[in-house]
C-alpha cells in the first residue's frame, strides 16, 4: 500500500483500474472527463486491460453500460450533471434489467443558469431510479467506495447498478493524500464477477426486460427492485466490514462523528461534511456538545441507523446542498419521514439550504446553524427553512441586475 496525492477524479479512475473492469463506455463532461482520460491513458500504455468506447451521448453510454453488464462482464462508467440527466431514461431502464455495474457521478449543479460547480440536485434527481447511491466526503472514500460498490452491485441478493458520487471541484479537482491498495489485495477483495444467469450472448439470445400487460406483473417487478435495494443495507455492512478487515478503513453506511454524548448534530451529505467535522471540533472546544451524522449510503436509505443515531438528541441541523423546487431540502424531508412518530425523536429538525452551485459554506455559518438549532430547542419553536445567503451576496446580485438593466435600456435605444 502506498500513500500519494490524488484528486477525486484520479481516485475514481484508480478504483476502476483496481476493480479490473472489462468495459468502459464513455462520454466527456466537466468536471468528470479527467476520470475517463486517466483510464484511456492506462489502456493505451497497457497498464489496464479493458475496452474503452466513446459513445455519442450519455443516453447511449448508459444503454451500452447496461447492455454490456447484461453479458456478464464488469462495467464502469462516469458522468456528471446534465449528462446524468440526459441519460435519465436509461438509468431507470437499466436498473430494471437487474444487470449490475458501477457509475461514478461527479456532482455539478443543473441548468439554468448553467454552472460548472457542484451541488447535489443532479444525483438526487436519480434518487428513485433503482441505482444504489454511495456519497463520498474524501478522495480516499472515492477509491474505496468504488471497490465496495462492485461488491454491493454484484451481490446475488442485490444485483443492481450503483452510483458512487463525489462533488465537483471540492473532490474532483482537489488532491489529498490517498492510500492506494495494492493491486492484488484489491483484486482479491473485489473478486471475480459471478454473473449467474446474466449471460446475454449473440449466439444465445435472451429477451431482457420485456413488456408487461397490466399492473400486476409490473408491480411485482418494480417492487422486487425496491426489496433488492433494501437488501443492500445488510450487504453493504458485510462488505464494508470485510473491507475494514483487509484495508483498515471502516466506511459505515452512516458516519457518526463525535455523536455519542452530543445534544445537537449536523446532518449533511458529501464533501462539505468534512467542513462540518472541523466545525464540530471548534464548537466542542468552545464547550458545545455537538456531532455530525453523515449518510454515506443514501439508497438504500439507512432509516433505522438514522433513528438510532438521532434518538434523544435535542436537535439536528439538516444542511441540504440541493433544493426540491416548491418543497425544500430533500435530506430534511427524508429524515423527517424516518423520525415522525418515533419515541424520543429530536423535537427540533432545522432545515438549511446551502452550497448551491458550489457556493462555499463558511465555518461561521456552521457555528450559526448550530446556534439557531439550539435556540429553536430552547424556545420550542423551529424556524422556517433558510437559504444560506448573505447581505453581501444580495449586494453582488443587485450589481448584476443593475448591469442587466443598463443593457436592456441600451438595447431598447438601438431598436428605436
Amino acid at each position: 500500500m502506498s500513500r500519494a496525492l490524488l484528486t477525486g477524479n484520479g481516485a475514481a479512475a484508480w478504483g476502476a483500474r483496481l476493480a479490473q473492469v472489462d468495459y468502459i463506455p464513455a462520454f466527456p463532461i466537466t468536471p468528470q472527463t479527467e476520470i475517463i482520460e486517466n483510464l484511456a491513458k492506462w489502456i493505451d500504455t497497457d497498464e489496464m486491460d479493458s475496452r474503452l468506447v466513446t459513445l455519442e451521448s450519455e443516453h447511449s453510454m448508459i444503454t451500452a453500460a447496461g447492455a454490456a453488464a447484461a453479458t456478464g462482464v464488469r462495467v464502469f462508467s462516469a458522468t456528471s450533471s446534465q449528462g446524468l440527466l440526459y441519460g435519465m431514461e436509461m438509468l431507470y431502464t437499466v436498473a430494471g434489467w437487474r444487470a449490475p455495474f458501477v457509475l461514478v457521478n461527479v456532482s455539478r449543479g443543473l441548468a439554468a443558469p448553467i454552472t460548472l460547480e457542484s451541488d447535489h440536485n443532479d444525483i438526487l434527481a436519480a434518487r428513485d431510479c433503482g441505482f444504489l447511491q454511495i456519497h463520498c466526503t474524501t478522495c480516499q472514500e472515492v477509491l474505496d467506495s468504488t471497490l465496495i460498490a462492485y461488491r454491493l452491485a454484484e451481490h446475488h441478493s442485490v444485483r443492481l447498478p450503483v452510483i458512487v458520487n463525489l462533488d465537483g471541484f471540492y473532490l474532483s479537482f482537489t488532491r489529498e493524500p490517498v492510500e492506494l491498495p495494492d493491486a492484488e489485495a484489491a483484486a482479491k477483495f473485489v473478486g471475480n464477477y459471478d454473473a449467474e444467469n446474466v449471460q446475454f450472448r449473440a449466439s444465445a439470445p435472451t429477451s431482457q426486460a420485456v413488456a408487461v400487460l397490466g399492473g400486476t406483473p409490473y408491480s411485482y417487478f418494480r417492487y422486487e427492485i425496491h426489496l433488492a435495494a433494501q437488501q443492500g443495507l445488510k450487504v453493504y455492512d458485510e462488505v464494508a466490514t470485510e473491507f475494514a478487515q483487509q484495508f483498515g478503513r471502516k466506511h459505515e453506511a452512516v458516519e457518526a462523528y463525535r455523536c455519542d454524548d452530543a445534544d445537537y448534530v449536523f446532518v449533511m451529505l458529501g464533501s462539505f461534511a468534512s467542513k462540518a467535522k472541523a466545525a464540530v471540533d471548534q464548537l466542542r472546544d468552545a464547550g458545545w456538545s455537538i456531532g455530525l451524522v453523515r449518510p454515506r449510503l443514501l439508497r438504500p436509505f439507512p432509516a433505522e441507523r438514522f433513528y438510532q443515531l438521532l434518538k434523544s438528541k435535542k436537535g439536528a441541523a439538516v444542511i441540504d446542498q440541493n433544493i426540491s423546487m416548491g418543497k425544500g431540502g430533500v435530506l430534511h424531508s427524508e429524515l423527517a419521514s424516518v423520525l415522525y412518530g418515533k419515541p424520543d425523536a429530536p423535537p427540533v429538525l432545522t432545515s438549511f439550504i446551502g452550497g448551491l452551485g458550489g457556493r462555499d459554506i463558511s465555518q461561521e455559518e456552521l457555528f450559526e446553524m448550530a446556534k439557531v438549532t439550539r435556540d429553536a430547542y430552547e424556545k420550542s419553536e423551529t424556524p422556517a427553512p433558510r437559504l444560506l445567503f448573505t447581505q453581501d451576496e444580495m449586494r453582488e446580485v443587485h450589481k448584476l441586475q443593475a448591469v442587466a438593466h443598463v443593457e436592456r435600456q441600451e438595447l431598447e435605444k438601438d431598436h428605436e
Binding site: 468534512s274 462555499d360 463558511s362 447581505q391
Partner: protein, 308 residues
Amino acid sequence: MYRIRFHGRGGQGMKTASRILGSALFQQGYEVQDAPRYGAERRGAPIFAYVRAAKVLINERGIIRHPDLVIVADDTLVPIPAAGVLAGMDQHSVLFINSSTSADEWRSRLNLTGPVLTLPLTADIEDRAVPYVGAACAGAAACLLGVIPQQSLAKAIEDELSEHGAEVVRKNQQKAAQAFEAIAKHTGIVSEAEDISAHDYVDPGWLDLPFEQASISAPTIHAGLTSVEVKTGLWRTLRPVIDYERCNKCWWVCSSFCPDGAINVSNDGQPEIDYDHCKGCMVCVAQCPPHAIETIPEQQALQREEQT
C-alpha cells in the same frame, strides 16, 4: 495549518504551482490539500489555486478565506476586483507579487499594513505567457514558508512535470531555485493563523432572500453572447493589433472568425477591434489572409499607451 493562495491567469500554471508546493509539503510530512479553481475556464481569465498543509488530518475544504500567504503571478490582476486577490487578507498575511514595481509602492497603493514582497520573476515580459512563472511562484512560496528545503522543491518539480521531459523539468527547477534564492532573506516569514473561534466569530449576516418577479429574477442577459458591461478584455495577455497598411479589407475574415464578435466593421469597411471585449485568443491573427494582424504582449501595449 498553512493556508496559501496562488492568483494568476488561465495558462500561467497556477495549478502546477499549487501542485509543486503541495508535493513538496507532502514530502516534508505534511497532510496536504491542493486544488485549482478555474473560474471562467478560459486562457487569460483570472484563476486561483490553493494549498493547505498541516501536521494533522485536514477537514477544512474549498476556498481559503483567510490566507497566510498570497502569491500573485501577474501584477495586472491585483486591481481587478473579480480576481479577489486581497480577499480575507489581514495583518499577518504575506502578499508576494511578481512585479517590477516596488513593494512599498504596492503597499501604499493597496493601503496594506501586512508584509508585502515583490520580485520580477519573469525577466522579460514575454515570459508571462509561459508556464515557468508557475514554478517560480512555487519556489518563492516554498522559501517564504521556510519548511521546504531546496532539494525537496526540486524533487516536487520532477514529480509533477516529469511527463513533459527532462528539459522542461530542468528549466522549471532552475526558475524555481532562482526565485527561492532571490528572496532567501525572507525565509520563514509566513506564520499560521489561528483557527476561527466558535466563541467569538463574525455573524455571517444572512438575509431572507426576497421574492422577485420573473421579469427581474430570470437569468437573462440583454445582449448576444456575453454582457457588454463585463469587460472580458481584462483576460487578455496578448493583444491583436491590425496593421492598416497591410489590411486589404478582404471579406473581413477576422471579424467572421472572432469567437467573441469583438471585431466590428466600420461603414467604410475598416475592421476595428473592440479591446474592451477582445479576449486575446489570437484566432484573428491566425486567420487573416495577408497577415495584417500582429501580436504584442498586453503588458507592452499598456506601457505604450501610458507613454503616449
